[in-house]
Symmetry: C2
Subunit: 128 residues, 2 copies
DNA sequence: GGCAAAATTGACTTATACGTAAAGGTCAGA
DNA sequence: TCTGACCTTTACGTATAAGTCAATTTTGCC
């Protein structure tokens, strides 16, 4: 099960382009192995890509994602840096909590729109 | 309480720039009144701006926000259009639910990062 | 009425996250 | 050897959502 994935396999699986994966590599988010010039992705890379895409979906920038990855690869050893990091993490968390609330509110609004559509449809339906 | 807001009052309240509000106006999202050339915002405009900003925060594009506003201003009267709209709304809702899940997952991940930071800090604390 | 502060428009610039086109390398199978 | 399906790099292009700047009005206030 320790196989490789090619770039197109992954693009198909995730519905993204090769450009995107090469871009992530340029930006230092992933470092697939190479055979000659061809990129070979391990399942760890595949996993990381999933997390990167999730990060993008929740609105993290490439730079922010890079920071998070960096923490996993090489967590800061110095107390001050750790505390700075924790502050940043707490900030992001607050941001995401707010975003979740925004989403809930928007979902409610979309519910309302749907309701008024249904009402309108009923109105029209009665008449026609 | 039926007062006006100036553009800078609103930019200060919402932490955005005048350029942004004018941009939203150019894009047809808001239509503040004018006294001479000066824009005067009613509290309805202020409210709408809040919703626009929330839409932006959850990842709606200007075009999508415009569509939603349009629905409120002038809901489609034809059954086919209504059904199309409902399909779109349902799509957006599914997207937002997914996004909500992504956010929850990311929050969990940030929790983990924080935990490992704390662990690390404890380690260092013990040694120093 | 005069003047500084605030507001306007229009044009140009910018950041992010890729898209796209050109030009070609690699390898398996017929 | 040829074809087709991949893969590569380099470089410029693009959409979105504003930011910036300059040159004018306009307004509020004394």
């Amino acid at each position: 099960m320790n196989r490789f994935y090619t770039i197109t396999e992954l693009t198909r699986e995730f519905g993204i382009s090769t450009r995107t994966l090469r871009y992530y590599e340029d930006e230092g988010l992933i470092q697939p192995e190479r055979r000659g010039r061809t990129r070979l992705y391990r399942s760890a890379d595949r996993h990381l890509i999933q997390e990167i895409l999730r990060g993008r979906r929740v609105g993290l920038s490439i730079a922010e994602i890079r920071e998070i990855i960096q923490v996993y690869k090489d967590p800061p050893g110095e107390a001050g840096q750790l505390r700075l990091l924790m502050r940043k993490v707490e900030e992001k968390r607050e941001e995401l909590r707010q975003k979740r609330k925004d989403i809930d509110d928007t979902l409610t609004e979309l519910d309302n729109i749907e309701d008024s559509c249904l009402a309108r449809l009923a109105e029209i339906g009665v008449r026609s």
